[in-house]
């Protein structure tokens, strides 16, 4: 029995280390991480009504739980959910950690990244969650003072981005404006591997997204896998009720949000037109 006790202790210690339980906000990065998540929501999802509904409150409840989908062998990625019950917003997170044999590539993110945001009806009970509360006055102050804060791609990422935009849209016969193509690059988020660009000449939104961190050069070796484009003239509707069930459209509200982030908060960049094809 005496010999078994150390073994049990070792087993428990190992289990604790390997179950990857994101049982609290601290496991995800603590309150600084939660603040960045809220700032991402503030910038990309929330509206006045969401903020107004919190006016008389002093705390923002934050529910956190581990999510464990069945993964492929050798995939050590971790998943979690942050639920803001008073907002009715659920944020799905992933910390990527797997290998792509075909690319001889380790896909590993440095922290948890947002992979989806959903409007949900919160469960009646928080039993399945670890509950934290953030101070709303402090959070409001943080959101107000950082509302125009912008992080842009560094020189290396900007170069890769320009090449990717050109490659993506290069096959279109789009006329340059005053001899150049104008792109507006939205700000980067530390909690999301998503980046939007508005290409003014083509009146097209370009969305880059990946399971890899966008700052990782390896991401751009497979940029063809991570690009979606939206023509703001042809793919805009006021409401999805105009084309229910279709996934080919963005609402005017969505497009307005992206344009605000790209044009107002973003960085204007110019691209030289491609050389005309040789006769």
């Amino acid at each position: 029995m005496k010999r078994l006790l150390p073994l049990c202790a070792l087993t428990i210690a190992f289990a604790t280390h390997t179950t990857f339980a994101a049982s609290s906000l601290d496991d995800l990065g603590g309150e600084p991480f939660a603040r960045e998540v809220v700032r991402h929501l503030y910038r990309w999802y929330l509206d006045e009504a969401d903020v107004d509904a919190q006016t008389d409150k002093t705390e923002l409840p934050v529910w956190v739980r581990d999510v464990k989908p069945k993964l492929d062998d050798g995939d050590n990625s971790r998943f979690a959910e942050i639920l803001f019950p008073s907002l009715g917003v659920s944020v799905s997170l992933k910390k990527t950690d797997y290998r792509i044999e075909e690319l001889n590539l380790e896909v590993k993110s440095r922290g948890y990244r947002i992979i989806n945001v959903a409007r949900v009806k919160p469960p009646a009970s928080a039993d399945a969650y670890a509950v934290t509360r953030m101070s709303l006055p402090a959070l409001r102050e943080h959101l107000f003072t950082t509302r125009n804060q912008r992080e842009y791609p560094d020189a290396a990422l900007a170069t890769r981005l320009r090449a990717a935009v050109k490659a993506e849209l290069g096959d279109r016969a789009i006329a340059p404006i005053n001899g150049e193509h104008i792109c507006h690059v939205g700000p980067l988020s530390s909690v999301s591997n998503e980046l939007w660009v508005y290409w003014e000449n083509a009146r097209t939104l370009v969305r880059f997204s990946s399971d890899l961190d966008l700052s990782n050069p390896a991401t751009w070796t497979q940029e063809r896998l991570t690009v979606k484009t939206y023509d703001v003239d042809k793919q805009a509707v006021l409401s999805f009720n105009e084309a229910p069930g279709s996934n080919a459209f963005l609402t005017r509200h969505q497009i307005g949000r992206v344009l605000y982030n790209c044009i107002v908060l973003g960085q204007r960049q110019t691209l030289a037109p491609s050389a005309p094809p040789k006769p």
Binding site: P69, E101, K121, Q222
Partner: protein, 228 residues
Amino acid sequence: MRFIQTTVIAAVMLAAAGISHATVTVPSPSDPAGYVARLLINEAAFPGERGFVSEADSKAAMLQVLWVLESRLHHIPTGYRQREIAMVETTDIITVITGDGGRKQVEGFSRNTFGKPVTAPRVEERLQRLLSLANRGTPGRFARLIEYGVALATEQRRGQLSEADRFEHLTRIGAGAVTGRAYSWMTDRDYYNPGGSYVRIPDENEGSLAGNRFFTLKTRDKKKETTK
């Protein structure tokens, strides 16, 4: 005897080598099975892409996307008309994919001015990129996912899907009655309602697959409405 054993082992090894280097292909987009396969492959996240969870999850997404198309074709629920759900009246799966007029149903899939079903250049470019990875070295997840998409599309063309629709028997979501089956999916835009009578299938009903959210429909009063 030893010669026979050696020959058999060598033959097995050669066969295995042949299998492991089999080329993964997708039929031409002018072949309906090739067009459907392109859609299934396009809508599922592959390793490295946002939304990727696992090979099984991406295969499930392909199957359920195909079931959405099948449901829009053959399983219009009581109280609904096909045009209301699919934006078209048709018995052709390609038309369900492309829609008609200016209301495309799936981003990247449409008909050209001559009425021919076409894909956006990036759909084909991504497919070629995935194929080049699938055919690199020993077949892995890329190869298996592409082959699965092609197999599903081929089954559909033959008129019989061998795997069940996981949403077929859904009757309630929250307090509301639903028709069962999924009739729409949206990619990475879970925050937004797809409009009409669509109801989000939640995670507990496996409504999120490979970066796609699936939607079913509210039930309607059977007495007041007519089917297609």
